[in-house]
Symmetry: D2
Amino acid sequence: METIKPCLNKVVKSEDETLSDSKRSYEVFNTFLIETRRKIHQNAESGWLEFQTTALVAERLKELGYEVKLGSEIVNLDFVMGRPSDKIVSEAIERAEANGVAKSILGKMDGYTGALGILDTGREGPTTVLRFDIDANDISERQLGSHKPYREGFASKNPLAMHACGHDGHTAIGLAVAETLMQRKSCLKGIVKLVFQPAEEGVRGAKAIVESGVVDEADYFIAGHIGFGVPKGGFTANTTQFLATTKMDVVMRGKASHAGAKPEEGTNALLAAAAATVQLHTITQHSAGLGRLNVGTLRAGTGRNIIADYAKMQIEARGETTEVNGYIVKRAEEIIRGTASAYGVEVSIEKVGEAVTSYSDGELADRIHQIASKCEADLIIYPEFKLGGSEDATVFMERVRERGGKAVYMIMGSEIAAGHHNEAFDFDEGVLVLGLKLFTEVVMDLNG
Amino acid sequence: METIKPCLNKVVKSEDETLSDSKRSYEVFNTFLIETRRKIHQNAESGWLEFQTTALVAERLKELGYEVKLGSEIVNLDFVMGRPSDKIVSEAIERAEANGVAKSILGKMDGYTGALGILDTGREGPTTVLRFDIDANDISERQLGSHKPYREGFASKNPLAMHACGHDGHTAIGLAVAETLMQRKSCLKGIVKLVFQPAEEGVRGAKAIVESGVVDEADYFIAGHIGFGVPKGGFTANTTQFLATTKMDVVMRGKASHAGAKPEEGTNALLAAAAATVQLHTITQHSAGLGRLNVGTLRAGTGRNIIADYAKMQIEARGETTEVNGYIVKRAEEIIRGTASAYGVEVSIEKVGEAVTSYSDGELADRIHQIASKCEADLIIYPEFKLGGSEDATVFMERVRERGGKAVYMIMGSEIAAGHHNEAFDFDEGVLVLGLKLFTEVVMDLNG
Amino acid sequence: METIKPCLNKVVKSEDETLSDSKRSYEVFNTFLIETRRKIHQNAESGWLEFQTTALVAERLKELGYEVKLGSEIVNLDFVMGRPSDKIVSEAIERAEANGVAKSILGKMDGYTGALGILDTGREGPTTVLRFDIDANDISERQLGSHKPYREGFASKNPLAMHACGHDGHTAIGLAVAETLMQRKSCLKGIVKLVFQPAEEGVRGAKAIVESGVVDEADYFIAGHIGFGVPKGGFTANTTQFLATTKMDVVMRGKASHAGAKPEEGTNALLAAAAATVQLHTITQHSAGLGRLNVGTLRAGTGRNIIADYAKMQIEARGETTEVNGYIVKRAEEIIRGTASAYGVEVSIEKVGEAVTSYSDGELADRIHQIASKCEADLIIYPEFKLGGSEDATVFMERVRERGGKAVYMIMGSEIAAGHHNEAFDFDEGVLVLGLKLFTEVVMDLNG
Amino acid sequence: METIKPCLNKVVKSEDETLSDSKRSYEVFNTFLIETRRKIHQNAESGWLEFQTTALVAERLKELGYEVKLGSEIVNLDFVMGRPSDKIVSEAIERAEANGVAKSILGKMDGYTGALGILDTGREGPTTVLRFDIDANDISERQLGSHKPYREGFASKNPLAMHACGHDGHTAIGLAVAETLMQRKSCLKGIVKLVFQPAEEGVRGAKAIVESGVVDEADYFIAGHIGFGVPKGGFTANTTQFLATTKMDVVMRGKASHAGAKPEEGTNALLAAAAATVQLHTITQHSAGLGRLNVGTLRAGTGRNIIADYAKMQIEARGETTEVNGYIVKRAEEIIRGTASAYGVEVSIEKVGEAVTSYSDGELADRIHQIASKCEADLIIYPEFKLGGSEDATVFMERVRERGGKAVYMIMGSEIAAGHHNEAFDFDEGVLVLGLKLFTEVVMDLNG
C-alpha cells in the first residue's frame, strides 16, 4: 500500500487540486477494505464470541504500532450482559484456535472479546474515541446464488452467525482508519482511541466496555453505522431519537405434578408465565413519551398432562426516553415478581441487554457536516436523522456527555440488498472508503 | 297453656294410647309456635343485628326459669366475622329500642346478639347442646297477595331483612322446646343448653360463639333445619357432606391519577382486581374433591378517565373437604397478595364467614331415627342425606367431635313456597310441632 | 345598559384614545356578565339536561333579535351520544318547568337541549360560527365557606351538577357577544351564528350538533375556553395537539346461577368483564403516537355466591392522532366482543362520547393574535399552546376544515381556585369581559 | 411348543389334579411370552407408527390360522386422532422395511397400523372381543445398568420410543392367547375377535378402530392392563371410575411485526395464547363431578423484538363423567375461539385424543372373579378398583354397552420398577403367564 501524503487535510481545505489527491489517497485502501470486510464476513462470530475477529483486529493494530488492550482488559465483568453459556464460549474459542488464532492472544482475552487500540501522540490535545462494533447476528446466511456473499464465495462459514447488519464493514473501516491515523500521527495531537466493541446486537456489549473506564477521559466520541435507512449518497452526523431499551430473559421454575391426579401438588410455571405475559403488555402508557413492551418468545412445559415446572420468556422494553424505559422495566419487574409469588414459583430476571436514549451533539454534528461537505462535495447531508431505534453506542455517548465531552453518531448511507438482520442482507462496498475518509478527516480536524 | 304430663316419653315407648296423649300434648303448642314464628318473621333482623329477636328469646327463657346469657357474654369478639359497620349496628339497636326493647337488655348485649339458656338439672348426666339460628336474610320480602306472609299481614316490616330460610321457625321451635324441657326438668339429668345463634347466613356467627367455649363440655350437640330439600313428611338426623366454605371481602387501594395525562402516576386497583379475579378462578382443581371459587361481586373505580384507586371483591370458596377449601383459600390469598404486589396496590383480605366440612355421627343419628320412628310413625326416615351445601353448625359439630362428643344435624322436611333465600320463600307451619317434638324427645332420651 | 358606539373597532385600530372608549364600552357589560354567569352557575345542569339554561339563552337571543333554533331543531338524533335515561331527562324537564321555564319553549326543544342564534346581515360576506358550551359537570359543589360560590350564595342548587369547568362563563360571554354584535349589525356583513352546545363534558354533544349541518357553510369557526392551564393575562388562539378520544360504556349480560351448586349453569359476566379489562389495557402501542386506554369503572355481580349475570365498564380511549385513537377503539371492540363470546355472554358497546384530534389554523390564529394585541396591550400571547387533552369542539373544527373553512380554538387565561372538574373549582370573573371583547373584535374583523 | 390338552378348562372346574395340568399347560408359553415381549420392547414404536409390531402380530395370527385384517381395513380414517405427520409416518415405514417387514404387508396396511384376528368357530354362540394395545411411549429408554431391559440387551433401539407402560407385554399375551384359543377351537362356539389396537397412549387409536365397526356385534368385550397400581398377586375385572378425557392441540397464527417500530401491524399469537391459557384454567367447576384442564405446553414466538406470529398449546381436559369432560371441552373451545377473535389471530383446534368415562359390567366382572379364583387360588381379587385415570378402551366398552353387550376391564397386578411412563419402567414378566391364563379361561367360559 503506497504511503499517502501526511497531513493532507490541512491543505485540502483551501486547494481543490489537492482534494482530488486526498480522494485518491483514500481509494488506495479500497482493496484492503473489501478484503478485510469479506474475511470477517466469512468468519462471522456472534456477540461475545468474536475471538477470531478480535485476534485479527488486535494483530493488525499491533502491526501498525498501537498500544493494544484485549478482552478482559477492557471488559468490566460485573456489567457483562447476554453472554452465551460457558460451553458455547468454549466452543467458539476452540474454533478460533482451529482457525489459527494463537493461544497467546486467546489467553490474553481470558474468555472475553473486544479490542482497544491507543494512539498517544505525546502532544497536548483532546482525547477522541472512535467506536466500531464487530459482532455478527445469530442467523444463518442465505445459501443462494442471488445472494452476492454466497455467489462470490465469502458467505459465513459458521451456522447461526452472519454479518447481517454491516459490522463486518465497520470493523474493516476501523482497521483502515487505524492505518491512516498512524500515518498522520505527526500531524495529530492528543490521544485517539479505537474501540472495537463486542456484542452490539442485543445491545449487550457497550455497558461492560464503558464501565471499564475506556471513555472516561474522552473529549469527543464518534460512532457510526452503514445503511440504517439512509440511502446511498446520504450522510448525517446528527442522529437523534435513539430509543432506550432493556432486554430481559425471565425464567420461572415451579414444581411438576400429574395434572389429572394431583393438580394441587404442582406449582405451575406455565400458568404464571402466561398470566405475567398478558399483564406485562399493560404497562406501556407514560406521559413522557412512547413506550413499548413485547414478550417475544415464551416456552413452557414438557407434556400435555404435566403441570409445567419451567417457563422462559424473552422480553424487550423500549422507551422514547430513558425515563419511560426505566418505568416500564420497573413495572415489568413488579408484574413478574408479583405474579411469580401469586403462583409460588421461583423466578429469575436477567438483564441481557441495555441501551439508553441519546442524541448527537448538535454543534459537533455541524462541524462534521462541514468537514464532510468539503471532502465529499456530492454528499447529501441530512441536518437531522431521527432514528427511532436502539443502539448501545448510546451508553458511550451518555457517559461521555455526562463527563463534559461531546458525542455524535454518524450514518453513512448505502444501498442494501435486504433489510438489516435479514438473511439476505448485503451492502454496497463502495461505502467503505467513504467511511474511512469521514472518520479520518474528522479526527484530523478534532485532533489536528 | 295446659300442663303436659311429666316424663311422658318414658311411657310412650310401650303404650299406644299414651302416645296419642303425647302427640296431643305437643299440639297444644301449635298456637304458640305459629304466633312466635310470625312475630319474629315480621321483625326480621339480619345477621349480627338481631337485637329485638335476642331480647324476645332472652325474656322468654328467663320467664321459663333458665339461666340466660346474652350477646357479648357468649361471643368471643376476636372471632366475630362479617359484622356490619358500627353505624348499621347502632341503627338496629335504635330500632329495637323504638320497638320496645328494654335498655337494660340492650345494655347487657353490649352491641352483640345471640342468647344462651342453661337448664342445669343438678343431677349427674350428659351435657346436651341444642342450637337454633335466629337471623334473617339481607333481602326485601315480596309484597304480593300471592305471598302468604304478606297476605296474612306478617311480612317483614324491615326493608332488606326477610326470614327467607326458616330461622324464624327454628327460633320458635327453640322457645317451645325450652318450655317442654323445663316442664320435664324433674325427669332429666345432666345439663341442657339452648344456643340461639346470630348470623348463620354467610356462616358468620358460629365461630365467635364456639370460641366463647359454649360447647366445650358438650357430650351431645344437635342442630336442625326446616326444609333444605327434604320433602314434607321426611326426616333425617344423618346429614352428611357439608361443604367447607370461606367467605372473603377483599379491598384493594391504589392511587388515582388522570388516565390520559399521567397514567404512570396511578396505581391501578381496578386492573389489579380484574387480573386477580381471572386468576382466582383457576385454583379449584384438587385431588381430594370438588372445589369452588367465585368472585361474586366486583366494584371498582370512580370515573372513566381516572385510574381507579379502589376496588372491592366479594369472594366465596368452597370445598368438598375442609382440606380442599383450605387449599383454595391459601391459593386465593397468594393470588391476591401476589397480584396486589404486581400492581403496587395495598390490599386487605377480611374473612367474613367460615364453615368447615362435617357429618352427623352415625350412631347418634341411628338412635335419633329410632326415637323419631316411635313418636311419629308415618315419618319417612332418610338413612343419609348428602347436603352438598354449607352451614356453620359444622363449626359447633367439629368442636364437639374433637373434644369427644357426638353431633348430628337434623333436617325436618317441609313443603316450601319457593327456594331458600328467595323473596317468596315460605314454609308449611305444620313442621313446627314436628320440630318441637323431635328436639324434645331426643333430649328426653339423651338426658332422660 | 347604555348603547355602545357602533363599529367601534374600525376606529380602534388607529386611535389610542378611542381604544379606551372601546375598552370602557365592554366594561359596561361587566355586571351583566357576572350576573348571568352566577345565575347559570346556580342552576347548573349536566349534559343533555340543560333545559333551563337553553331556555335562558333562547329567550335572550330572541329579545336581541336573533333567529333562534332550539333543541331537536339543531340536534341530529342519530348521532346523540351519552344522553341520560328518559327518566332522568323527564325529571330535568320537570325541574325546569318548576323553575318557571315556559311549556312552549320546552315543547319546542322536544327533549333535546342546545340553542342556535343566527344573525344574517343580508350583506354578502363570510359565515362565522362561534361556539359556547353550556353544560355542567356531574359532581356536587363544595359547600364550604372557603368556596366563593357557596360563600356568596350562588353555588349550584342541584345535587350532582356543578359548573366546575367554566361553561357558565362561556355561556355568559356568548350572550354578551350576541348583544355587542347585534348592536354593531350595521357594520357587519355575511352571517354570524352563535352555537350554544350541550354536553361538551364527556365529549358527547358536538357530534349531534355538527351532523345537523350547522357549520356546513362556515368560513370561520371559533371556540374558546377559560383557564385550561393558561395563567391570568395569557392568551392564545393557536391551540394544538388536541387528543382524539372515544368514550364507551360496555354492558355484559350473562346468566346467574348458584356458584357452589350449579357453576356450569351460569355464564359469568363478571369474569368476562375482568378478563376483557386486563386485555384492554394491552392495546395502546402504536407507531403513530401515544395511545391511552382506561377502564375507569367496573361494576359487576349481585352476591358473593351467585355467578354474576351483569357487568358494566366505563372505558376511555385516547390517541395522539385520530388514527391512533381509531386503532385502539377497533382493537377494544375486538377484545370486548371476542371475550364476551369466550364466556357466552351478551355484550353491548355504546359510544357515549367522541372527539377527534385537531389544531388551530395557524394563519387565522396569527390574525387573531394581532387583533388581541391591539385591543388588549398587556395580553401575553402564546404563539402555540399544546393542549394534550380532549374537547369536542374539534368535531366542529375538522368539519369546517374539511369543507374549506378555517377554525381556531382560543384559550383565555385565568386564575382558578382549583383544577377543572374539582368540586372547589372557580375562576376569576375578570376573564369574562376579556372573552367578550376578544370574540367581538375577532368577528368585527372577520365579518367587518 | 408342546400341544396342550384341548378344552382343559371344562375339566378344570371340578378336578384339582387337572388344574395343575392346566397350570403347567400355560407355563409352557413362558418362553414364548418373554421372547415376544422383549422383541417388541426392543423395537418399540410409538402410536400410529407400529408398522413392525403390526406385521409381527399379523404374521403370527395368520400362521395360527386366523382371518386377519390390517391397518386401513380396520381404521375408519374419518376418526383418526393424533397421527404424526406424513413425514414421520413415512420414516417409520422405511424403518420397518429396513428391519425386514415385507412390502406386501406394509402395502396392505396402507399407512395405518393395528391388526384384527378373527376366530369364527362356525357354531352358534356369543361374539367376544379381546383388545390388546401395542404402542410405545414417546420417550427415550434409560441407558443404565440399573435398568434391566438395558442390562439384558433388549432396551429399545429406537430413540424417543419406549414401551414404558407394558403394552409390549399386552401384545405378547394377545399372541399367546391367540394360540391357546386356536388350540381349543373345537371346544368353543361363536366368534372370538382379537383386536391389536394402535395408539392407546394419548387415547388416540380406539375411536378410529371402534368406528370401523369392529365391536358392533360384540356380546362381550374384555381389555386388560398390567400393573396400573395393583400390586403383584392382585387382580380385578371390576375396574371403575375411568375419567373421560379429551386431548387438544391448539395452534394460533397471527402476523409478525417489529414490536418496537410497528406494533400495530402485528397480530400477536403469543399474547392470544397466553390470555387463552389463563382463562382456560377457569372452566373446571361442574356440579356433576371433578373436572380438570391443563395447558401442559406452550411454545410461541421467534424473537424478542418480533410480535409473535405463531403459538402452539397442548391441552388436556378430563372429567369425572363424560358430561363434565364434554362441558370443559365445549367451554375450552369457546374460550380459545373467542380469544383468537379478540386478537385477530387464526386458530385451529385439533382433537388428538379422546376417551369416555366407563366402568366394568358388575355381573360379568363377578363371573370373571370366580373364574380367576378357581384357576389361580392365591390371587387376591379386588371387588372394585377405582381407576381415576383415562384409557381409550372405554370407547370400545361404551360402544359395546350401548349395543347391548357387556364389557370389563381387567387389571393384572405386577411389581414395577418405576412408574408407568417413566424411562426406567419395567414389569415383572411373571405376569405374562397370568394374563394368558386369565384371558384364555374367560373366553373358554364365555364361548365354551
